[in-house]
Amino acid sequence: MKRDFLCMDGVSAETLTRLMDDATVMKKQVLSDNKTCDILKGRSVATLFYENSTRTRCSFEDACKYLGATVTVVDVATSSVQKGESILDTGRTIEAMGTDAIIIRHSSSGAPKYLADNVKCSVINAGDGLHAHPTQALLDLFTIREKFGRVEGLTVTIIGDVKHSRVARSNIVSLTTMGAKVRVYGPPTMIPQAAERLGCEVCSSIEDAFIGSDVIMGLRIQLERQKKGLFPSYGEYARFFGINPERMKLANKGAIAMHPGPVNRGVEFSYALCEDECCYKDIQVTNGVATRMALLKWVLEG
């Protein structure tokens, strides 16, 4: 039976641990002068991104190449998608070329699941709408474990537009699975209904959000959200919800600041924080390649 990776729900702590263990090995390979291997030699992967991406798409491409697989980048902007081809027909066309796995990003929540239900090859979700971004959550998990040596018992606080964040949703699930305590904070217009039922706590103030935290996770404020008026201005956001070195001092000793990127400097992260050693955003990018290698191996080789 084929294996997909669509969301973090139902992914066991055992699987996550195994993926992180593999990623530890892969990371050494990525950082070495001999980055390629033959683990996925002869396999074929396609990326199908209906939304813009730098980190996720490039790191998947690198991951494929480092594992010896061939990778086809479907450029949605110049593909038959522009002629109105449906996601199903596009997916089946790619599959018909002998592709073993399709990595898809789409603005509609549920699109990867729909594709996975209708093709025989594996489907990896690289982000769907507001729903899930499980490979981001995997690399975040790995980054945290690498830094602290464990995930269980840590307190991770996600600050920002939780309501419209697929990164936050996936992280809440995987971090909770691994035994971390997850908290969220942001403008009330950006906190989802029934957040508590996701298994996380809603902080009551920006100070509370930092106090007791081992990891502070910022989320990207999307310009289109600002146009919808969920907060009044970038200046106000930075003042009341921004992450900066002064606020990081309220967190636990050795706490780190993470961000899925791209950062709006001076908004979610202050300029000073971006240069601070507690800022792990670039380390996350490196880890993105290693964890996606581990994931591809798991999906295609078991």
């Binding site: 009330p188 008026g229 969920l230 907060f231 200046g235």
Partner: protein, 420 residues
């Protein structure tokens, strides 16, 4: 500084001396030794915590020809108020911290009543995007409102209620569906029919009250409904409160002391928004005050220049200059008539509004803030708009006989008004 002694005032029905040190009440007792205190002879006067008006228009900046912070503050203390919250429909709109600070600084210079700015819900009161509510709170705003205009978009109202709630700040909603106003100039009822004016249906107010209750209930947010005027609004709020919705509301003296009958002759001084309603609404307001549906009595003090009230009803500005008549109208209509007690009126005019906007108010107990008003409850007098300190002489109550005269107003333990 010398202490101040209020001699022989009625405090809760008993003759008492009130000793004030600085801005606090040090002692309340019978026969306090005056020593070298400055003494106010309050024999025959009743001491009340000075009133708090959470809904006034001071018109500065931008419309100083109608009123300014100095004239408005002078009118406030003359009306027995130690604190007022001013609405943001100034020019420019009070939608940024600089104007909030300007108002506070100007009020400090004037040094009469305490002025707490209410900042706009939306930038420019345009109903498009919310203001920088966090920064506005830091600058000293105590609430948010687009008063003078409704927040027409339910989505914007939703965002405002949620976002302001995060800063624990109230949103005050001016409830009016503009499409239902439909060029009306007075209440849609018998008087409008008789006089031949286009009416404003009660529904224009009530549908918005209902919308905001639904939003507050669904979101678990808090909302304060401004100037209710109809029986239907009162009933909607009464039922919402019974369900546990976090809704509070206010009404104004003109809604329980007058009806649209005042407009029969076309007197634009009785033109106000929402409009004066009918007797059944007036009685419903009193009922809502009695049963606790109404949380606060406010004036919606809306001074206008003479020329803005001339030339007939249709083009005339909305609003009543009400801060100098509020206590007497309320006392006469509500307490003298036996509808409520003086203590209840005091709560409606002081502690309740102060609680809604989260400011400290006076109280007649030791250690409390010495914001005190001394009133002569039995003084019967005729309202004379020409004696107003406000620049706005626009009142429909000119010539009306009332009881209850403010003789002194103390703010932070200092005499800021003394009747001459």
């Amino acid at each position: 500084m010398k202490k101040l002694l209020i001699r022989s005032a009625l405090v809760g029905g008993k003759k008492r001396d009130v000793l004030i040190d600085g801005d606090r009440i040090e002692k309340i007792a019978a026969d306090i030794d005056a020593g070298d205190c400055k003494v106010i002879d309050a024999d025959g006067l009743t001491a009340l915590p000075a009133f708090v008006d959470m809904h006034v228009h001071l018109r500065e900046p931008g419309y100083e020809y109608k009123e300014d912070i100095e004239s408005g503050s002078r009118a406030a203390v003359a009306g027995g108020f130690s604190a007022v919250c001013c609405m943001p429909n100034t020019n420019p709109v009070t939608d940024n911290k600089y104007i909030v600070r300007y108002i506070k600084d100007r009020a400090k210079e004037v040094d009469l009543a305490k002025v707490y700015p209410i900042a706009a819900v939306s930038v420019g009161q345009k109903g498009e995007t919310i203001t920088e509510m966090g920064k506005l709170k830091e600058a000293g705003a105590v609430a948010f409102s687009d008063d003078g205009r409704p927040v027409e978009s339910a989505q914007l109202m939703r965002i405002a209620l949620e976002y302001a709630g995060g800063f624990n700040m109230p949103v005050i909603s001016h409830c009016e569906d503009l499409s239902l106003v439909n060029d009306g100039v007075m209440n849609e009822g018998f008087t409008a029919t008789l006089a031949g004016y286009k009416g404003i249906t009660r529904a224009s107010e009530e549908v918005m009250v209902a919308r905001d209750i639904v939003l507050a209930e669904t979101l678990g947010a808090r909302v304060h409904i401004a100037h209710i005027s109809t029986k239907g609004s009162a009933q909607l709020i009464r039922e919402a409160k019974a369900r546990g919705v976090k809704v509070t509301c206010e009404t104004c003296p003109h809604y329980f002391a007058a009806t649209d009958a005042l407009l029969e002759g076309g007197d634009a001084n009785a033109k106000v928004n929402p409009p004066l309603r009918e007797e059944s609404d007036r009685l419903a307001m009193i009922e809502a005050i009695k049963d606790g549906t109404v949380d606060a009595i406010v004036t919606d003090h809306a001074p206008h220049a003479k020329h803005e009230k001339e030339g007939g009803l249709i083009g005339a500005a909305n609003g009543i200059s009400g801060i100098e008549t509020s206590f007497a109208l309320s006392y006469t209509t509500l307490v003298r008539s036996g509808a409520i007690t003086l203590e209840k009126l005091s709560e409606l005019m002081t502690a309740n509004p102060a609680g809604i906007v989260g400011i400290e108010c006076g109280a007649l107990k030791e250690g409390a803030l010495a914001d005190i008003t001394l009133v002569d409850l039995d003084a019967k007098y005729t309202i004379d708009k020409n004696k107003f300190f406000s620049k706005g002489k626009n009142t429909p109550f000119h010539g009306k006989e009332v009881y209850g005269k403010v003789r002194y107003t103390l703010v932070d333990g200092k005499i800021k008004y003394k009747e001459v």
